[in-house]
Amino acid sequence: MPDAASRLLALYRTMARIRAFENAAEIASQGGVQAWGVATSAKPALVRGPLHLSTGQEAVATGVCANLKREDLLTSTHRGHGHTLAKGADVRRMMGELFGRATGTNKGKGGSMHIADFSVGMLGANGVVAAGMPIAVGAAHALKIRGRKEIVACFFGDGAVNRGPFLEALNWAVVYHLPVLFVCEDNRISATTPTGPMTGGAGASVRAESIGVPGLKVDGNDVEAVDAAAARLVAEVRGGSGPRFLHAVTYRFKGHVSVDPGAYRDKAEVAAALAFDPLLIARVALVGRDVVSSAIDAIDAAAKAEIDAAMVEAEAAPWPESAAAYTDIQNTGAGQWR
C-alpha cells in the first residue's frame, strides 16, 4: 500500500473511533433531561449533564494530533472528546468518565466537559470558552523556561476569538516567543448563534496575523489538508519559530449539547454540510487510492466494537465513594468544615 494511503487509513481510523465514541455517548445521554425543548424521559440517562459532541469535526482533532508526540501538551474546549481520544487517551477510561464512574480518567469528578488525561499530555477540556488559551501559553512558557523540547497545541472554537483571553494569550505567545500551535476549530457557530454576524473584521486568522502569529487556513473537514497544514506548522514551532496559527473551518453536525436538536439552524445549510462529512471525504479519497470499501467498513466496525465494549465496561464500573467528594481539593485546609 502506498504511504499516502496508509497514512490516510490511520487518520481515518482515528476519525472513525471519534465518530463511534460521539455516537455512543449521544445515545447514552438521552433520557432523564428536560432542556432545549426536549421533554423529560422516564429512563435516566447513562451520561448525565451537558454533553458537547464533536460529531462532524473529527478531522481537526485527528489531523492536528497526528503531528503531536505523546509528551507534547494540549489544551481543549468544552467539546473535547475528539482531542482527548486523538491525543492517545484510553477510550474505556474516557467513557468511564462520561458515565461518572470511579474508573474514569478524572475519577468521575469532571465528566465530559472536563475530560482530561495528563498521562498523554492532555491538560483538560474546559467549561469556559477561551479559558484554555492562557493555560496553554503558560504551559509553553514553562517548557521554554525549563529548556524542554515539547510543544503545546491549543484548541479553541470560533466563539473564543471574541473573548479577551484570545488577544491576551496570542500576544503573550508572541512576546515570549513560545512553542504553541493555536488551533481555531471553526465550526461557525457560537453555542446557538452563528459566529459570523457576531464577529468584526475578517475573522480568526486575520486577527492572529495582526498580533504577529502567522498561520494557515484550511478546510477542516479534509483530514489530509489539516494533517499537511499541521505538519508544516508543528515543524516550524518545533524548530523555534514561535507561535503559529491553524484556522480549520468545519461544521458541527449536532446541536450545542446532545439534547439540543439544533432546530434553529437552516435545514438546507445542515444538509449541505452533511455532504461534506469528513469521514466521507476521507473514504472517497481512500477508494480513489485503491483501498477496498470492505477494508474501510472493517475499520468502522472495529471502532464501533471497541466503543461498544467501552460502554459495557463503563456501565458495569463502580461509582465513586461519596468520600471522594472531599479529596483532590487542596493540601492545606481541605474538606474540613462546613
Partner: protein, 321 residues
Amino acid sequence: MALMNYSQAAAAALSEAMEADPNVVALGEDLGRGGIFAQYRGLQQKFGADRVIDTPISEATIMGAAVGMALAGLRPVVEMRVVDFALCAMDELVNQAAKNRFMFGGQGRVPLVVRMPIGLWTASAAQHSQSLEAWFAHIPGLVVVAPAAADDNYGLLASALASGDPVVYMEHKELWAVEGDVVAGTKVPLGIARRLRDGGDVTIVSWSKAVPTCVAAATELAAAGIQADVIDLRTLWPWDREMVLGSTARTGHLLVVHEAVQVGGFGAEIAAAAAEATGCRIRRLGAPRIPSGYSKPLEDESRVTVAGVVAAATTLMRPPS
C-alpha cells in the same frame, strides 16, 4: 535575626525560595523595577528576566499562564498589583486554578501564590482600596493568607510557596513600611493564628491592618478595666478555630474586626462559628457598605479606628439590658 520592613521581608522569603528551587518564578507587571511596592526589589537583577518576568497588562493571562506554568512543572508567584486588578482574572483564579486539581481527578497540581495587595491606601479611591478576602475564603481549593507584620510576611510567604496549593496572598498596602525582626529560615505555618495579648474578658479577632488597630485598642481597654485576648488570624482559610473558639469559650465575648466591608465579610463566618460552638456574645466591626471615597472625610468613613474598636468592645461588654 534582621530588622526588615514588611516589603523587604517578603522579598527575602521569595529570594530564598528562588535560590532553593529553580522552578520558582515570579510574573507580573513592573516586576523588573521591583514591583510598585518594592516587594520584588533586586530580584530580577539576581535571578534574571526569565525567572522574574515582566508581563503585558494582561491580568487574565498572567493568572491563566501561571496555571499552565504550574501544570508544566513551575511554582509561579503571580503579582496582581492590587486586589482590584485581580478582578480581571477571576475565571483564571476561581474556575481554573482553584478547580483544576479536583475536576481533573487529582491528575494535576496548581502550586501557585497569587499576591493581591488589599486595603485602603491614602486617597486611592474606589478601585484601589478594597479588601476582598471574603470572596476567596468562599472558594474551595484556595488558601487565603493576610499577614499583619513583617516577620509574618516572611514566614507566611515561605509557607505559601511551599504549600503546593493555589494560595491567595493578601498583603496590606499601608503595611509595607512596618518593621519587625525577621529570623531567617523561620516558616509560619498556614492556619495557625497568633495571640498578641492575653486577656480573659473579651476575644478580639482581626487580621491584616486591623491587627495593630486592635492591639492599640486593647491597651486603652485595659486602662478601662477590660482585658482583651487579641488574636491575629493570619490565615483566613484555613482559619485557626482551635485558638479562636478556645478563647471565646473562656471569655464568652467575641469582637471580630476587619477593614473589609462588614456586610458579608469573613468576620460573619467567624462570628457564626463561634456562636454555634460556644454561645458567646458577638459584635462585628468592619467598614460600612460604601465604596471607598477619595476625599479624606469620605475615606475616613471606611476606616476601622482604635476608638471604634474600643467603643465596640465596650458595648459588647455591657450587660444585656
